[in-house]
Symmetry: C2
């Protein structure tokens, strides 16, 4: 079992930021990544559809020798964890609880912002997970739909991204949040710009940005340690699957993984 891989799935390429974090901090682990590029984006789908897609994606990963499943997609984490845990005895980690825990642990003022896709925000999952940990936290939750295409366009530091963030961040600044949960795997590429806009436009310095890729990797690391599942010392292998449009997966996804994806295989779920 220690030699088995970490299965990671996402609706597309955003989850590659999670795979990159796992690869960087757990370099001995094999990683099998599936991006469901034929069905992205999950963020605007109905809950039943998201569950069905997540079950199919998990079904593929379970055909490989894996020891843990990481649901790197926030929308899928919001809706499908119960269904996936019913489908396998392996540990299933979503990104929402780790993100919520990191946010609550880090906030001093108890005023937080949550940003994500329409589906993630509408699900109320981050709101519930945070309030379960600390019921008196004040929250503002907003969808930031433009950031996904901006990230995929590579406009990480473009004036358009800055202006969109000035619009999106105003409600967060008004509440005076000291922590913002980046509840979509695409958003961490804008970390520097978000901090800059908060400081220059709203005079808000020292706002902590919670990256769920970092938070879930911490949880995964601890889980592997506790269950004695850590891989032996070796160079971990990385395998990439997508369900459509491989060329785009490799080209755009490469920026998110910060590495070469040219071995990707297209699979039909």
């Amino acid at each position: 079992m220690r030699r088995a891989a970490i299965g990671v799935f996402d609706s597309g390429i955003g989850g590659l930021t999670v795979a990159a974090e796992i690869a960087a901090r757990l370099p001995h682990e094999d990683i099998i990544y599936l991006g469901d590029t034929a069905r992205l984006p999950y963020g605007t789908r109905s809950p039943q559809t998201i569950v069905r897609y997540a079950e199919r994606a998990t079904g593929l990963l379970l055909k490989y020798p894996i020891k843990a499943l990481v649901v790197a997609c926030n929308t899928a984490s919001a809706y499908s964890l119960d269904a996936l845990r019913a489908a396998t005895d392996l540990p299933v980690l979503g990104v929402i609880k780790p993100g919520a825990r990191a946010a609550v642990a880090g906030s001093r003022s108890g005023r937080m912002g949550i940003a994500g896709t329409e589906g993630t925000i509408r699900s109320g999952s981050y709101q519930q997970a945070i309030h379960a940990l600390d019921p008196v936290v004040e929250l503002v939750a907003r969808p930031w739909p433009l950031l996904v295409p901006l990230a995929e366009e590579g406009w990480h530091d473009h004036a358009v991204a800055r202006l969109a963030l000035e619009t999106y961040l105003s409600d967060f600044a008004e509440l005076g949040v000291d922590t913002i949960v980046l509840g979509c795997t695409h958003y961490p590429v804008f970390k520097r710009l978000i901090s800059e806009v908060l400081e220059t436009t709203f005079g808000a310095s020292d706002v902590a940005l919670v990256d769920s890729a970092v938070a879930v990797t911490t949880d995964l690391q601890q889980l592997l340690m506790e269950r004695d599942l850590e891989a032996p010392q070796r160079a971990g292998r990385r395998s990439f699957f997508c369900t459509d449009a491989r060329e785009r997966f490799e080209r755009v996804g490469g920026h998110f993984f910060r590495g070469d994806l040219s071995s990707a295989t297209v699979v039909d779920l």
Copy 2:
């Protein structure tokens, strides 16, 4: 046959601009609209996948009494018309040829721009259709991926849209185009802003913007007349189907149709 409906399909809600144009200019015609919201966007899918999706969508519309099929999605028009014409004897109209014809007819300088999704631009369909009509036209073709989420966000006149257009339009202005084909059904909501940016930022007035919703409706009108298929004088009925996320289809789509969609039915293809 004259009492049969016009079948219109699109990958989602953008094609509602085409349905709106047909409804306005052919008010006696019944319209059956299908938005494949479970599988949008088509623009980043592979050609084979787009053809498969278009065949399934057409299969649904053919279960209803229709007399013509309008493929309102540019990406589907780019890839799937041959396959759809093989599947039915009904006339099948895409948006690309009508748009290309309108562009060539309107341009004085022979320098044109084409904007669309990644899939539409990469397909080369507009480029080929225009060059088939006039081989010496000078073309610049560019994807404008941010305009779809900007349109769906309702930021039709927002500073972010203006800045994105300033970036996107610079190559077009540099070539000195006198015509721009809006090769995506979402783009016409930005017509006013595009003209304004061309004029104020680039000093380019009098650039014609070709809206394929207008162009394909003209072709449809002519086809119905030629084949004696025009509906009798009556109030045309409009029926709406989508494949997922009905609430969003009705809410966001309502702006595109400029009318009420609250009778939409969810179907599984």
